[in-house]
C-alpha cells in the first residue's frame, strides 16, 4: 500500500514515473514473496489490526460496543490475487513509461496509477468486509480518474462519470448486503466470535475459517439469500456483469495501459474476488449460487455476441473481458471459487497482453478502428505475435493459459450438472461462448495484422514501440503460454487447492474430462476457422443489406440498447423530475413564504388608509373602541368564560 502514497508524494518530480515503477516493482517482489510463503505453508494468516472506529459498550443496540477494525489477511486466495495485481501492475507501469511519454500530466497519471494499485492491494489484503468496501470505493474513484485521464475529451469525462455511477449503484447494493450480513452476525456470528459488532466485519474469527453461513444457516435463510444477491449486485457492478456491464466498453476512453490494468488485474478483478472471498468465508445459499451461475453464464454469452460485430479493437477486447469474467463468476457460483480465481490469474496475463498489444498498435498508427488497419503483421512482428498468443490463450487453444483455466471451469461446472440440473442452460451458453470468443478475437487479429497493407492509406507508417513497451509484451506472452501450466507446479497447485477446500467441493485441475476438452477446443478452432474464412488475408466480409441478420447486427452494434435505456432513465426521467421538484421548491414552498410577506404588506396598506388625518374619524375609532369593549365585556367575555371556565 505504501506504493501509492509514495507515488503520490513524489508526483511533482519529473522522474516520478520511474519512482512509481521502482516502487511497484518492489511491491511485486513483496507480493510474490508472500505468495511463495503461502505456497510453502498454506493457511490463513491475519495480521495486526488497528481500531478505526470504536463505540464503547452502552445500553442499546450494541451492548458490548461496536468497533470497526483494519487489518490484513493472507491466505491462498489473497496471495494468488496479490501476485496477479502486483505483477501485472508492475508490467503496466513499465509499459506506461514508453506508452505515455508524449502525454502531459504524467505526474498525475503515475500518482493515480500508484494509488490505484495501492487500493487494489489493500482490497486484496483486507481482512474484513468494511475494509474491503473502503478500498473497493477507492479503486472505484481511482478508475474514475484514470478513465477520465484525457479529461479534455468530453467523451472521456462522461465515460469516467458513467463508470463511477454504474459501479456506485453496485456499491450501494454491496453496502446494503454488508448490512444484511451484519444484522445476522452482529451479535451472534459464528462460534467463538464476539460477533461483528465487537470485532468488525472480520472474515475470519479467531482460528476458525469455516464459512459463517454454516454456523448461521438457521431461520436466516431468506435474509442471507437476499444478502448474497446484494453482494452479487455489487460484484456485478464492479465486474461489469449483466445488467451493469455498460460502463466497461466506454471505459476504453482511458489510456490503453489503464484499460489493461482495469481489465486484467484491478477493477474488474475486484468484483470476482469479492464473490470468491464471500463464497469462501461467508458462503452463499443455493439460491444465490444459482443466481450467480445464471448471471455468469448469461453474461459470458451475451458479451461475446456484442464483441462479434464491433469495429473498435479495444472494445472487442473489452467485451471479451466481460465474457471472460462471466466464466469466473460462473465458476464461483458453481462453488469453485479457486477455479474462478485461477482463470482470473491466467486471464490477467493474456488480457493484459492483448491490451498492451492493441495499445502498441494504436500507439503506432493512432486509430482504434479495425477496418482502417491491415497488414500490420509485416511491420510489427512482436506485437502481432503477442496479439496472436493472447488470442490463442483467449480462445482456449492448448497449451495456452486460457485453455487450462477455462477448461477447468467448464469441467467443474459440468461435474455439478448432475446435482444441479438447473445449471444446464447457463452451462450451454458458456459453452457456446467458446466458439464466439475464438471467432471475434481472431476476426480482430486478421483485420489488424493479416493482409498486406492498411485499408486506410492515410495511416502513418507503423513501427514497433521502444523496448520498455516490447519487454512487457514478451514477458506477458511468456506468461500467457506457460501460466496455464502452473497448476502442475506442486506448490502452486497446493495454493489453488488450499484455498478452494473451503468451498466444500474439491476442484480438479488439468485434463479431467477429455471429451469436454475436445469439444471446447474443437469449438475454438471452429471459431478461428470461421474468422479466417471471413476475414483472413485482408478479406472483408460485408453482410448483405438485405440479409435477415441485419437487424441482429444493428441490435448488437447498439449493444442491445442498454446504454440508451440507462441514459434515458438518468437524463430524461430523473433530471426532469429534478426540474419539476426545483420548480415546486421555488414557487410553492418558497412562494408560501413570500406570500405571507405580501399578505402582511397588503394588510399594512389597508390599515394605513384608515389613518385619514381627519380628527373626527379618530374620535369615531375611540367611540367604536368603547362600544367593542362593551361587547367584549358583556357578551364575548362571559361566553368564553362559560365555555372554558375562568381561563
Amino acid at each position: 500500500m505504501i506504493v501509492g502514497f509514495a507515488g503520490t508524494r513524489l508526483e511533482r518530480l519529473e522522474w516520478g514515473g520511474w519512482i512509481a515503477v521502482l516502487l511497484s516493482g518492489a511491491a511485486m517482489v513483496v507480493g510474490v514473496l508472500i505468495a511463495i510463503g503461502e505456497m510453502l505453508s498454506p493457511g490463513t494468516y491475519t495480521n495486526v489490526q488497528f481500531t478505526w472506529l470504536h463505540l464503547p459498550p452502552a445500553p442499546g443496540a450494541f451492548p458490548n460496543g461496536l468497533s470497526l477494525v483494519m487489518g490484513t489477511l493472507v491466505d491462498p486466495l489473497s496471495s494468488l490475487m496479490l501476485v496477479v495485481v502486483t505483477v501485472v501492475g508492475f508490467l503496466v507501469m513499465l509499459y506506461s513509461i514508453g506508452y505515455m511519454h508524449h502525454d502531459h500530466g504524467l505526474p498525475r497519471y503515475y500518482a493515480e496509477l500508484s494509488l490505484f494499485l495501492a487500493s487494489m492491494t489493500g482490497l486484496v489484503l483486507a481482512n474484513n468486509l468494511l475494509e474491503f468496501f473502503l478500498f473497493w470505493e477507492l479503486v472505484g474513484v481511482c478508475s474514475y480518474f484514470l478513465i477520465g485521464f484525457y479529461y479534455e475529451k468530453p467523451s472521456a469525462a462522461s465515460a469516467a462519470k458513467e463508470a463511477f455511477l454504474v459501479t456506485r449503484v453496485g456499491d450501494v447494493l454491496f453496502l446494503l448486503g454488508i448490512f444484511l450480513f451484519f444484522s445476522t452476525y452482529a451479535l451472534a456470528g459464528p462460534a467463538g466470535s464476539g460477533g461483528w459488532a465487537a470485532n468488525g466485519f472480520v472474515f475470519v474469527v479467531g482460528s476458525t475459517s469455516t464459512p459463517f453461513l454454516a454456523s448461521a444457516m438457521g431461520g436466516h435463510t431468506l435474509l442471507l439469500t437476499i444478502a448474497g444477491l446484494l453482494i452479487l449486485g455489487g460484484a456485478a457492478g464492479k465486474s461489469a456483469q449483466f445488467p451493469l456491464h455498460v460502463w466497461l466498453p466506454d471505459a476504453m476512453e482511458g489510456p490503453t495501459t489503464v484499460s489493461a490494468l482495469i481489465h486484467a488485474a484491478t477493477m474488474v478483478a475486484a468484483g470476482v474476488y469479492l464473490l470468491a472471498i464471500t463464497s469462501v468465508f461467508i458462503g452463499f445459499t443455493p439460491a444465490d449460487q444459482l443466481a450467480i451461475v445464471a448471471i455468469g453464464g448469461f453474461t459470458t454469452f451475451f458479451a461475446a455476441t456484442m464483441a462479434v460485430v464491433h469495429p473498435d479493437i479495444k472494445r472487442v477486447i473489452a467485451y471479451s473481458t466481460i465474457s471472460q469474467l462471466g466464466y469466473m463468476v460462473l465458476a464461483i457460483g458453481a462453488g469453485f471459487a479457486m477455479v474462478g480465481l485461477y482463470h482470473l490469474f491466467t486471464h490477467a496475463f493474456f488480457k493484459a497482453l492483448l491490451f498492451l498489444a492493441a495499445g502498441s498498435v494504436i500507439h503506432a498508427i493512432g486509430t482504434q478502428d479495425l477496418f482502417k488497419m491491415g497488414g500490420l503483421r509485416k511491420r510489427m512482428r512482436v506485437t502481432a505475435a503477442a496479439f496472436a498468443v493472447g488470442g490463442l490463450a483467449l480462445a482456449g487453444i492448448p497449451p495456452f493459459a486460457g485453455f487450462w483455466s477455462k477448461d477447468d471451469i467448464l469441467s467443474s461446472v459440468y461435474s455439478q450438472l448432475g446435482t444441479h440440473p438447473d445449471y444446464w442452460p447457463f452451462f450451454l451458453l458458456a459453452f457456446a461462448a467458446v466458439f464466439l470468443t475464438a471467432y471475434y478475437i481472431f476476426r480482430a487479429w486478421f483485420l489488424a495484422f493479416s493482409g498486406d497493407h492498411p485499408r486506410d492509406p492515410t495511416l502513418p507508417e507503423a513501427h514497433e514501440g521502444p523496448w520498455v513497451m516490447q519487454v512487457p509484451l514478451v514477458v506477458l506472452s511468456a506468461f500467457a503460454v506457460v501460466a496455464g501450466l502452473f497448476v502442475f507446479v506442486p506448490g502452486f497447485q497446493s495454493l489453488l487447492l488450499g484455498g478452494a477446500g473451503v468451498a466444500g467441493i474439491p476442484p480438479t485441475y488439468g485434463l479431467t474430462d477429455l471429451g469436454l476438452s475436445a469439444i471446447s477446443v474443437g469449438l475454438g478452432l471452429g471459431g478461428i476457422g470461421l474468422a479466417w474464412g471471413l476475414w483472413g488475408n485482408g478479406r472483408v466480409f460485408v453482410l448483405a443489406e438485405t440479409s435477415a441478420l441485419q437487424p441482429v447486427r444493428r441490435l448488437l452494434l447498439n449493444r442491445y440498447y442498454f446504454k440508451d435505456a440507462y441514459d434515458w432513465i438518468g437524463l430524461r426521467a430523473v433530471y426532469s423530475f429534478a426540474r419539476a421538484a426545483d420548480f415546486f421548491d421555488r414557487f410553492v414552498i418558497d412562494g408560501t413564504v413570500r406570500g405571507l410577506e405580501r399578505m402582511f404588506a397588503a394588510a399594512s396598506d389597508r390599515l394605513r388608509s384608515a389613518q385619514t388625518g381627519v380628527v373626527s374619524d379618530y374620535a369615531a375609532y375611540v367611540v367604536a373602541g368603547l362600544l367593542s369593549l362593551f361587547v367584549l365585556l358583556l357578551i364575548v367575555g362571559p361566553y368564553l368564560l362559560a365555555r372554558f371556565g375562568g381561563g
Binding site: 402582511f600 375611540v622 369593549l629 362571559p638 381561563g647
Partner: protein, 532 residues
C-alpha cells in the same frame, strides 16, 4: 408636623415645581438663554431623579432619601382614603419619568439656539413631568385623573409651543380633541364607579371588589375608564391620534411624548385595573348579570385586556411595515410596544407587572433615544423619509451604530435591554400558564414581525449607497463642521452625550439586567400584595 417632615417626601415634585416657576419667572425677565433655562431643567430633573433613586433604597445616595421607609408600601388603615401614597413601584415609575425628562432636557440643550421658545419648552417639560410624578403617587381615582390632565394639558401646549409650525399646530389640535374626548370618557367612568362604590379611593375600590349593589355600574365604569386611559397608552383602536402627533411635533417633544408621558397611562392601568383583576381573582367571582348570566369581573377584564393587547401589538407592527417616514414608523412601533406592556397588566401577577415595568424602562430608553437620533439626523439636514437615510451608517458609523442598537433593542435582539424586558415579560406569561402562554406566543411572533421593518431600516442605513452630496457627509468629513454652533460632528454635544448615554445603557442593562430587575421585581411584589 414641621414643614420639612411634611414637604420632605415631595422633594422631587417640589424641585420640579421650583424649576417651572423659576423658568417662567426668568422668561418674564427676558432671560431666555438656552444654557440657563436648559441648565435649570437638567439640574432639577437630575436632582429629583437622584432623590427618587435614594428613596428606593439605593445605599450610596442614602443622604438624599427623604421618604421614611415605613411610609413606602404602607398598607392604609381600614377605611382610610388617602389621596396619595408612596408605593415603591410608583417611585420606580417616578424614576422612569424623571429619567425620560432628564434625557430629553439634556438632549435639547443642543437645539439650534436660533430656535426661540426655549423657556416655554423647558417650563412645559418640567410641568408635564411634575404631573407625571403626581400620577405615580396617586391613590385616588380623581386625583389620578386630574394629575393625568395636568400632563395632558402641558403636552398639548408642548406640541404646539413653536406657535408657527402648521404641522405642530395640527398635531396639537388632534391631540387636544382626542385627549379631551378621552378625559370625558374617563371622568364619566369615574362617576359611574363613584356611583357604585360611593368612593373614588383606589384602595377602597380594590378592597370592595364587585361586592356592590349595582355591579353593572362597575362594569360600565371600568369600561369607560379603560377607553379613557387607553388613549394615553395608545392602545388600538384608541391610537390613531398618536401617529399624527408624534409625527407633527418637534422631535424632542415627540421623544418625550413617546418615551415619557405615554407611560403614565401604563401606571394608571396598574392602579385602576389591578384592582378588579386581582381583587376579583382573589375574592372569587362575585358576578354581575346582564342577561341573567353571572360572570366574574376580573377574568372577563383579563380577556378584554388580552384581546386589546394582541390587537395593539399586531396592528401597530403591521402598520409600521410599509411606513416610509422614519418618525411615523417609530410612532407605530411604539404603539405595538404598548401592547407588550399591556400583557403584563392582563396577567396581573407580580412577575408580569415587573416585566411590564422593565419593558417600560426599556421603552423609555429606546424610544427617547430613537426620536432623539431622528432629531439629530434631521439637524444634519437629512430628510424625514427612511429612504433619505441611505448609507447613513457608513457616513456616520457611531451615530449609525447607536441607532442600530436602539432598533435591535426594539426588535428584541439579545444583549439589549429590549430583549431583557421581553424575556422577563414573556417568561412571566409562560410561568402564569393557562391561556396566557398564547399571549407570550403572540407577543413573540409580533416581535418577529417587527424585525421586518427594523431590519429594513438597518438595511437602508448600512447596505445602501449614500445619496450623492449627502449633507451628513459634511459632518463626517470635517469631523464637527456642519452648523458652526453645533460641535461634535454637527450633533451638538447635548444630543451626542445623550445618545451615547442611552446606547450605553441599552447594552449595559441588556447584559446585566439584574441591576434594575431586582428593585423592580420587589416593587412589583409589594404593589400586588397591597390591599389585595
Amino acid at each position: 408636623m414641621t414643614f420639612s417632615s411634611f414637604a420632605g417626601p415631595f422633594l422631587p415634585e417640589l424641585l420640579l415645581l421650583a424649576g417651572v416657576l423659576l423658568i417662567f419667572l426668568l422668561d418674564v425677565l427676558h432671560v431666555s438663554r438656552l444654557e440657563v433655562v436648559g441648565g435649570i431643567a437638567v439640574v432639577a430633573t437630575l436632582l429629583a431623579l437622584a432623590s427618587v433613586i435614594a428613596d428606593l433604597g439605593f445605599a450610596p445616595l442614602a443622604l438624599l432619601a427623604t421618604i421614611p421607609a415605613r411610609s413606602i408600601d404602607a398598607v392604609p388603615a381600614a377605611g382610610a382614603a388617602p389621596l396619595f401614597a408612596f408605593t415603591s413601584l410608583g417611585l420606580v415609575f417616578q424614576g422612569l419619568f424623571l429619567l425620560a425628562a432628564f434625557l430629553v432636557a439634556l438632549a435639547s440643550m443642543s437645539r439650534p439656539s436660533a430656535e426661540r421658545g426655549a423657556p416655554i419648552f423647558y417650563g412645559l417639560l418640567l410641568l408635564a413631568t411634575l404631573g407625571m410624578l403626581l400620577v405615580a403617587i396617586a391613590s385616588d381615582l380623581i386625583f389620578l385623573l386630574l394629575a393625568i390632565e395636568v400632563v395632558s394639558i402641558a403636552s398639548y401646549l408642548l406640541v404646539a409651543y413653536t406657535r408657527k409650525d402648521p404641522r405642530g399646530l395640527e398635531a396639537a389640535m388632534k391631540f387636544f380633541v382626542i385627549g379631551a374626548l378621552s378625559t370625558v370618557l374617563s371622568f364619566f367612568g369615574a362617576s359611574l364607579l363613584f356611583g357604585a362604590y360611593g368612593t373614588t379611593n383606589l384602595y377602597l375600590l380594590r378592597a370592595a371588589g364587585t361586592a356592590v349593589s349595582y355591579p353593572i355600574l362597575v362594569l360600565l365604569g371600568y369600561a369607560f375608564l379603560f377607553a379613557g386611559l387607553a388613549f394615553k397608552v395608545t392602545l388600538v383602536p384608541f391610537h390613531a391620534w398618536a401617529v399624527d402627533v408624534y409625527d407633527g411635533s418637534p422631535d424632542d417633544v415627540s421623544a418625550y411624548l413617546a418615551g415619557g408621558t405615554k407611560k403614565i397611562g401604563i401606571f394608571a392601568f396598574f392602579l385602576v385595573f389591578l384592582g378588579p383583576v386581582l381583587a376579583v381573582n382573589a375574592v372569587g367571582s362575585s358576578g354581575y348579570g346582564l342577561f341573567g348570566g353571572s360572570v366574574a369581573l376580573g377574568p372577563s377584564f383579563q380577556l378584554a385586556l388580552g384581546a386589546i393587547a394582541v390587537l395593539t401589538m399586531t396592528v401597530g407592527n403591521v402598520l409600521a411595515l410599509l411606513q416610509k417616514e422614519m418618525k411615523r414608523m417609530l410612532a407605530y412601533s411604539s404603539i405595538s410596544q404598548a401592547g407588550y406592556m399591556l400583557i403584563g397588566i392582563t396577567i396581573g401577577t407580580a412577575p408580569a407587572i415587573g416585566g411590564a415595568t422593565l419593558q417600560v424602562l426599556a421603552h423609555v430608553l429606546m424610544k427617547t433615544g430613537a426620536f432623539l437620533v431622528v432629531g439629530a439626523v434631521a439637524a444634519l439636514g437629512v430628510g424625514p423619509l427612511i429612504s433619505d437615510w441611505r448609507g447613513l451608517g457608513q457616513r456616520r458609523p457611531l451615530l449609525g451604530t447607536a441607532f442600530a442598537l436602539m432598533l435591535l433593542s426594539l426588535a428584541g435582539v439579545p444583549l439589549t435591554i429590549g430583549f431583557a424586558s421581553k424575556f422577563v415579560l414573556f417568561s412571566a406569561a409562560v410561568a402564569a400558564q393557562g391561556w396566557f402562554v398564547w399571549l407570550a406566543v403572540a407577543g413573540l411572533l409580533n416581535s418577529a414581525l417587527s424585525v421586518f421593518y427594523y431590519a429594513r431600516v438597518l438595511r437602508v442605513m448600512f447596505f445602501d449607497a449614500p445619496p450623492a452630496a449627502d449633507p451628513a457627509l459634511a459632518g463626517a468629513v470635517v469631523g464637527g463642521a456642519g452648523p458652526p454652533a453645533l460641535p461634535v460632528g454637527g450633533l451638538g454635544w447635548g444630543r451626542a452625550v445623550t445618545i451615547a448615554l442611552i446606547a450605553v445603557l441599552i447594552v449595559a442593562l441588556g447584559v446585566y439586567p439584574q441591576v434594575v430587575l431586582g428593585p423592580i421585581q420587589s416593587a412589583a411584589y409589594h404593589f400586588v400584595s397591597l390591599g389585595a
